[in-house]
Amino acid sequence: MNKLDDKTPAARQPESLWKDEFSVFNDRERFVNRRQLVKFLTLTSLGMFAGNVWILIRSWFRRGETYPREAIARLGEIPVGSVKLFSYPNPKEQCILVRTSGDNYVAYSQKCTHLSCAVYYSREDNQLICPCHNGRFSIRDGAVIQGPPTRALPHVILQRDGQELVAIGMSGKLES
């Protein structure tokens, strides 16, 4: 006979009383925990859906965004291989204009797409370089060549208007 069978009803009574006073049932507790976990996971899913809706709303508003038309430099103002810094499309956004050859100019946002450090132009490498983590961008299209950034630099669209270079818009998103 095992020990449980040895117990008389009187001997079992305190245990039963204890169970009545602290009625915690393991099976039920596990069951409730599972239910709570499912509820938590469902709320997490709702949060991620809200995130996707937020992106949708933001991109909806961005479609209607217009850029100002601003003269940023005069032709021949900067020598070949040199740069000029300017603000576009608002005073907070620094951009960099590079004269790559005689009549070729390119302009990009100066904020690195990794952690927003200011990029500079390296004439030796003919690349835009971020000094913080050595991210490098192509001067041709702003694409990432090496380093931690995963996205290209936003490109400032330029237009020649007489003897002036005019910024008319941007492609790519500015880091905020």
Partner: protein
């Protein structure tokens, strides 16, 4: 009771799989948005909504099992 717990465990596993897909979807949509494109925003939101509806349906399934179990007790 054991069969119900097994059903709930299976449901949780399915929800976790759906959440993994949803996490990937959110990060991919955010990456495309930050790269300056907005084409992926609508399909991303729609797919995420469908996944959320499926997760909510599974939650309702677990809730129903739990309720019937309580009634039986």
């Amino acid at each position: 009771m054991r069969r119900r717990i097994t059903a709930i465990d299976g449901t949780i596993a399915l929800i976790v799989l759906l959440l993994m897909v949803q996490v990937w979807l959110l990060s991919a949509t955010l990456d495309v948005y930050l790269a300056g494109h907005s084409d992926a925003a609508l399909p991303g939101a729609l797919c995420s909504g469908i996944i959320f509806a499926a997760t909510a349906g599974l939650y309702w399934f677990v809730h129903r099992i739990d309720r019937s179990d309580r009634r039986q007790r």
